[in-house]
Symmetry: C2
Subunit: 213 residues, 2 copies
DNA sequence: TAGATTGTTAATCGATTAACAATC
DNA sequence: TAGATTGTTAATCGATTAACAATC
């Protein structure tokens, strides 16, 4: 096994591999070669083999990769089996959409609580996840530390809430607020910047004719 | 002006520049140099100057960049002033969250209609955006072509809906379905893969100790 | 065994950084 | 004018692709 520093590009491709392997498995496909996988994902076989070789030797010469074994390896690399616990802060439309629709468990996370400032929301329950008073954030986290916090508060509250979470020792923040959070100590920030994505789309639409020529 | 093929990395940085320039403007800052901007964004001054030089000469030697002028240039490059029109398909939790909370107009898009299959939702109105019957998608788009479609249908419906949109000549699909959409003809697909982002976060959490040493 | 396909090393390509003449 | 900072060319660095010996 070649030990290399894992580049961000590689990390960002792993979830896509995982999704595709899940798909292959659902279709009953048991083995796959790097060249077939490359065709399906629009990547070169070389790149796929390079990516995997950062983490170990998962294939077999002359055969390829076992879909299910490879799937498990990648899932393990991504930490799906670590039983990460998480909270969600801000039960507005976005927070509710995640609470109701997003399958955290499927991706290795267990939501243990939600928090909000609105008294009408406090006490609500979404699939077994209770909404607590945001004032009790600190005391809750002290008793029950979590790895991750989903940040779905309004933008005005984004920065202060992120700082509180960081101070409580939350390892990572999944940031839906469209606000750039400055590095808070050790805390990892993973951004879901909707507007960045929409603006990239806007750029591609505006420049679609240049691309072709 | 140096004419280069614009790399994807550059395109993905543009929205961040725009957000930051908006922020500077809100704070009343009128001029900025590439090195100050670099400090604030965690980029090198060289990279920032290289990025801008793909599109023109926006600065002034010895002075730097006018924040408001630069902001307008980048907004124009991203196509914010093009008056793009869009529809939204699938008024579930995610669709509603976008309809209620996301400021499409601020990013240069005008939502002209939403669509859903559920009769109870048809006829609803979100800030002036009516929900129409999804069966009428084709006839509506024929009368009223749009550049973009926001895809927030359940995953089972993702592929078929994307194909219908593509056949109706929608230029780009903003895909929230966590399903990998294959290239449908000319249609541009911009993905918001929540799970990919969460899994990257999971990786960083699982490997946070390796990173430091 | 022969064919296929891996893991890895070497070659290429592209993106980032550094340097500097031009100039406000 | 002198200092600052640009736009751009050259140098470096890293990521992708190609090639191939190893081997299932």
């Amino acid at each position: 096994m070649k030990r290399c520093r894992i580049s961000n590009n590689v990390i960002r491709r792993l979830p896509r591999y995982l999704r595709h392997l899940d798909d292959l498995q659902a279709r009953g496909i048991e083995r796959i070669s790097s060249s077939t996988l490359g065709d399906q994902l629009g990547l070169t076989p070389s790149q796929i083999r390079q990516d995997f070789s950062c983490f170990g030797e998962f294939g077999q010469q002359g055969y390829g990769y076992h879909v299910s074994a490879l799937r498990e390896q990648i899932a393990a690399i991504l930490g799906i089996d670590r039983g990460h616990e998480a909270i969600l802060v801000g039960v507005g439309n976005m927070g509710k959409a995640l609470l109701c629709n997003f399958d955290f468990a499927n991706w290795g996370f267990r939501l243990v609580s939600a928090f909000d400032v609105n008294p009408q929301r406090i006490g609500e329950d979404y699939n077994g996840v209770p909404v607590r008073n945001a004032e009790d954030l600190e005391s809750f986290l002290q008793q029950h530390p979590v790895e991750a916090a989903v940040l779905t508060v309004p933008r005005e509250a984004a920065l202060s809430t992120a700082q509180r979470l960081s101070q409580c020792g939350v390892t990572a923040i999944w940031n839906f607020t469209n606000v750039e959070l400055p590095a808070c100590g050790e805390t990892i920030v993973e951004n879901m910047h909707f507007s960045d994505s929409l603006l990239a789309l806007s750029y591609f639409v505006a420049n679609r004719n240049n691309e072709e020529e």
